[in-house]
């Protein structure tokens, strides 16, 4: 890879191993996600897809190796990351309105004490309109359906205005129409030049909407243009690679070698 190409990387993985209790879930990952790229992460259950996203957000420190962020974001400083976890641990019984839940997306601007001004209100209204939740402002989150909740969370992502957006199975248990609406937002982010990474299981959707794909099965099986990655042969290999969790696995010797 040339130096010019390297400076436009949004996220670089350097011999990255992530895991739990010393057992790797992502093993020796090397490579980079180009700035402004739209990448799907696919693979069987237990392949380390969610773990990889957790590592990128910084919620899980690497067992070894490094994750380097935004070597060349246009805004210079540290890239802002927005992360939508697989099952967001949101307390749905908490008495908070949709409006308030969405407006915390402005955290990076308003922070702990900053006010929400008139301009911000306009942005919040726009975000709610973009996900089709106009009129839901005063509803408490406990009254939302699963799809509406996901729409609200996407509205919050919109407001976060992040350079890097990580989505962990954003369309699981979501109906076709909501999926289409939210997928349109993902495309919009891509068009705006943001780096988007989404963990997905629907191969059809990946083929249609995601230019690049990382096929992960604890180790990277294939990574590149979606059409070249999602071959029957690669998918079969990925299925075989995810072995059972071995409690007595020996220490990995690859680094020493």
């Amino acid at each position: 890879m040339t130096d010019a190409a390297r400076t436009s990387d949004a996220i670089r993985f350097e011999n990255l191993t992530l895991g739990y209790d010393r057992h790797p879930a992502v093993h020796h990952l090397d490579g980079a996600l180009a700035s402004g790229s739209l990448t799907a992460v696919v693979g069987p259950n237990g392949a380390g897809k969610s773990t990889l996203l957790k590592g990128i957000v910084g919620a899980l420190p690497p067992l070894s190796g490094h994750i380097r962020l935004s070597l060349g974001t246009p805004r210079g400083a540290k890239a802002r990351i927005a992360y939508l976890p697989q099952a967001a641990d949101i307390d749905r019984s908490f008495p908070i309105t949709v409006y308030d839940l969405v407006c915390v997306g402005l955290w990076s601007r308003a922070g702990l004490f900053g006010g929400i001004g008139r301009k911000d209100r306009v942005r919040i209204e726009e975000a709610l309109a973009a996900v089709g939740l106009t009129g839901f402002e005063k509803r408490t989150i406990g009254t939302l359906s699963g799809g509406q909740m996901q729409r609200a969370l996407f509205a919050r992502l919109l407001l976060q205005d992040a350079d890097i957006i990580l989505l962990d199975e954003p369309f699981t248990a979501i109906d076709a129409r909501t999926t289409a609406d939210l997928l349109a937002l993902v495309r919009r982010w891509h068009d705006e030049g943001r780096t988007v990474v989404a963990v997905l299981h629907d191969m059809e959707m990946v083929r249609q909407a995601f230019p690049r794909t990382l096929l992960l099965a604890r180790e990277p099986v294939a990574w590149g243009e979606t059409d070249e990655v999602l071959t029957a042969e690669n998918l079969l290999r990925a299925r075989h690679l995810v072995e059972a969790f071995d409690t007595h696995a020996p220490i990995c010797a690859r680094d020493a070698a």
Binding site: I90, P95, I96, L101, L112
Partner: protein, 289 residues
């Protein structure tokens, strides 16, 4: 008649006025703290920490008798120690925080009762366990009022991360490090409020002034701000009504206050407009959309 019943006790006796001011100050800070404890599903944590304060206060009592600073400092130290130790055990071992707290508070309670019995009489023990709301001196009142002031100011500062930490801790972690700080600061507020409450209501009942009004408020509104208001109001009214009840009937004052708050809770449980039990009996016909 009504004047004799409700106002006269406070006009007549200085100790009743002091008790009223003390109870009002406790309700002022206990109300919002209780609401957050409840929304964070930490209601039992508050209870456990109240018990944990006992051995600290007891050590102060052993060394200096019934001295306000000694017992306050002892209680604070014990409260913080248990809160931190339980958090540490929960974070570094397989034991969850509730189990860790239960273990620590049981040890604390047994230790505290033993320590008080070593030197004091049963009267002293009752004093520590159930408080002396009718014998609040200037220093204690200042302490309780000061704690209320600090608590309200701190809650105003912590409000945003505290709410967000309840709703969506994962999101807060991804945008800010304020979550852990807010959590620790909130635990500290719980401890100082329990120490304040302990002088008036004793270690066992201090938490009552937080949890009962907060649990009542849950049945009156679905909005946090209103809930905090209702909770504070219920606390204050319970304080006044409990004192009047104790004055006229000769019941012990601290338990009276908590009993009245308990009555308010049970009443709210039935008639509260948000999910009150009685409303289930008349469900009303379903709507069009």
């Amino acid at each position: 008649m009504l004047y004799d019943l409700l106002i006269d006790p406070f006009v007549e006796f200085d100790f009743m006025r002091r008790a009223l001011v003390g109870a009002a100050a406790l309700a002022l800070s206990g109300g919002p703290v209780g609401v957050f404890l409840m929304l964070r599903r930490m209601s039992l944590t508050g209870d456990a920490m109240a018990h944990a304060i006992l051995p600290g206060a007891a050590v102060g009592f052993l060394l200096y008798g019934l001295s306000l600073p000694a017992m306050t400092i002892g209680g604070l130290a014990a409260g913080f120690a248990v809160a931190l130790a339980a958090g540490l055990v929960a974070r570094t071992t397989a034991l969850k925080e509730d189990a860790a707290l239960a273990a620590f508070y049981l040890i604390s309670l047994a230790l505290g009762v033993t320590l008080v019995s070593l030197r004091g009489s049963n009267v002293d023990l009752l004093h520590v366990l159930f408080g002396t709301v009718l014998a609040l001196d200037d220093a204690t009142l200042l302490l309780v009022a000061g704690i209320a002031t600090v608590t309200l100011a701190a809650l105003a500062v912590l409000y945003r991360p505290l709410v967000l930490e309840c709703v969506d801790p994962g999101f807060l972690r991804s945008v800010s490090r304020a979550g852990a700080v807010a959590h620790l600061a909130f635990l500290a507020l719980v401890v100082i409020n329990l120490v304040g409450g302990f002088h008036a209501l004793g270690t066992l009942l201090a938490v009552g002034m937080m949890m009962l009004p907060a649990a009542s408020a849950r049945f009156w509104s679905g909005d946090i701000t209103v809930m905090i208001g209702v909770s504070t109001l219920v606390g204050m009214l319970s304080g006044a009504a409990g004192l009047i009840l104790s004055y006229h009937t000769g019941l012990p004052a601290g338990p009276s206050i908590i009993l009245v708050a308990g009555g308010a809770y049970i009443a709210s449980l039935f008639v509260g407009p948000v999910d009150g039990l009685l409303w289930r009996l008349v469900p009303g016909r379903h709507l069009e959309a």
